[in-house]
Symmetry: C2
Subunit: 369 residues, 2 copies
């Protein structure tokens, strides 16, 4: 069995995002080897100072805090890790869970929507959440809360939260969060004690979409967080459902727009169940959106790259990037390097803090701080 | 020039519906010849008593009443008859018009919806009707009235009414009907003095759909009259637009359903104008919904049918029909008679009052009274 302390040290290493984590696990046999290689990789990526790597004591203290909370830790690649979530190219390397882990292996429906929801919107959310399937949502005000409450009444529910398992947000959901931890599942990617910040919310949203076979959006203004979850659903090959509304209600703009773009027009739980597949569409669909494999294998062995190609890649790839993100596929077509060289250099650049990987597998150059 | 008195006598003859009228005009060179043939045709269709044919005096009195009202009569096949309306297989043989006939030759948008409309629904109707295009509707309460009023404010409007031009229905629309007759166009298919009956409403609806390049449905319950207009729009190859609404509002069930079936999800006049073609889709689309030609030609000359085939067709076709309507196409495939024999026998049966032609070119057997 792989040492969880080493895994968590790697996960908490500065510059190691979910995609870099996957690349490091593919490249190195053990987390210890990856940890040992990190300073050199970051140097190769152009970073002068070595990234911060927590020591064993640091992460043991984190694990102790999880134990005190009664949390189960699910590491990507382990059998208990949710299978649909593992399909994400940016699957969380580890999630901490309170509640019954078995629920995560049932066919899950996500229900998300506006915080400033209308009474009608909340009623629709409750109707749909009473479908009998476990309902995943984000424990936010409005639609999320209505969906969780209704799901608890007729079945069970899963809340993915942006902060630590022991942090309640928003404060009025304290009792609901406790009830979900007891009768459903509460999921956090962040360490205990983490206060939710703006950047945590889209990461939380990807977990909601990633757990589910389909995502139902109820009341969403244009450019709202729920549309980010919808975008993830499409990126991950999940079914997308949207509830229509009057053109005069700004909260229906986003959902009407999703329907116009092809989301299932949804009026009831029946509409959702009728169109819910057994498996994510990405498993069948065209290669462009095919998910990363649940393991850590990369399509081409990294060691195939000759040293001289790697050198050219290290020189050229940063020049091809800009602050405006480009899809990795496009970069690959443009630069003509082998996939292994490309992946190796992207990993180095990410560890060096010079690039970031964004949803939709896009790469953006980070401007020097 | 064809004698309008003879045309109107033919139009007002018992058993002559729009489709039979087209068939008779195709088969006979002049309306007089058709009138002369009617008793024999009805007899061949199995009717003992000759159908009622109004005499010249009867229809001259009707024309006098139209003159007193200041109406213009537009006969199918004449240059002033609206071109899009002429494409209907069941185009009205004659429409009586008050107002500026030229408006009927502009690109028209139809806006229809619930009589028990919500305030919001009426606001959306008004927004969309203010698109600048002439707006056709049915002068009913609710959405229709809101659309007419808004269209008069920014442009012009066309009302197709179920009764006679001089009959006001509903009574509270007296002033609006008068204003439309003056500043827009008021259209009736029925003779002056006709009180609107249930059977007139779907006929009126086909005129609304038939005049327009596209039909916008705003608030429609399931199985409502607006959905009949929507059905005509599809049958006639016109664009179909529907405004979404909350699943909790029964008035949105019909429109949400139309969107699910492929109608353009519509939130504004811009959504309509962006998707409005220059010509009806039926002019381009597959042959199944290709419209009848604006003239009276049938695809195959009727006289090609041998007498013996006609006899067999007269015997067999009534047996193939039942009170449950079947599409003419299906009947044709099933019975193997030539199109000319089929058309001839259907004409005879309709004149004999034994069948009726229904929307979608379906034929149903009328049970003996």
């Amino acid at each position: 069995m792989i040492d969880r302390v080493a895994l968590l040290r790697l996960i908490r290493t500065e510059g190691v995002g979910p995609q870099t984590y996957r690349r490091l696990r593919a490249r190195f046999d053990t987390p210890e080897e990856a940890l040992a290689a990190i300073p050199a990789l970051a140097r190769a990526g152009g970073r002068a100072k070595a990234p911060f790597v927590p020591n064993a004591g640091d992460v043991r203290r984190e694990i102790d805090r999880f134990d005190t909370l009664g949390a189960t830790l699910l590491f990507l690649g382990e059998p208990d890790y949710p299978k649909l979530l593992a399909l994400l190219p940016d699957a969380p390397p580890m999630i901490a869970v309170l509640g019954d882990v078995a629920i995560l292996h049932k066919p899950i429906v996500a229900v998300v929507g506006a915080r400033n929801a209308s009474v009608n919107g909340c009623r629709v959310a409750a109707d749909i959440a009473a479908s009998g399937r476990p309902i995943a949502s984000g424990l936010a005000r409005g639609i999320d809360a209505a969906a969780h409450v209704a799901a608890l009444r007729t079945g069970t529910t899963i809340a993915a939260i942006p902060g630590g398992l022991d942090v309640v947000y928003p404060p009025e959901h304290k009792a609901l969060q406790a009830e979900i931890a007891e009768r459903g599942v509460l999921i956090a990617e962040a360490p205990p004690g983490t206060a939710p910040m703006a950047r945590h919310f889209p990461k939380r949203n990807r977990i909601i979409a990633g757990l589910a076979l389909g995502v139902v959006v109820i009341e969403a203004a244009l450019r709202s967080g729920s549309l980010i979850t919808a975008r993830y659903a499409l990126d991950y090959g999940r079914e997308l459902f949207a509830v229509p509304g009057s053109p005069l209600d700004a909260r229906a703009r986003g959902t009407n727009d999703l329907i116009r773009q092809g989301a299932h027009l949804t009026e009831s739980a029946g509409d959702v169940l009728m169109n819910l597949p057994d498996r994510p569409g990405a498993l069948f669909a065209d290669a462009r959106i095919a998910p990363a494999p649940p393991g850590f294998a990369e399509p081409v062995a990294l060691l195939e790259s000759g040293a001289s190609e790697l050198d050219r890649a290290r020189r050229d790839i940063p020049r091809l990037l800009s602050a405006s993100p480009v899809p990795v596929d496009e970069l690959a077509l443009h630069c003509q390097f082998s996939p292994s060289a490309l992946v190796a250099v992207l990993m180095e650049l990410e560890l060096a803090g010079r690039i970031e990987t964004l949803p939709g597998n896009k790469i953006g150059l980070l401007l020097a701080p």
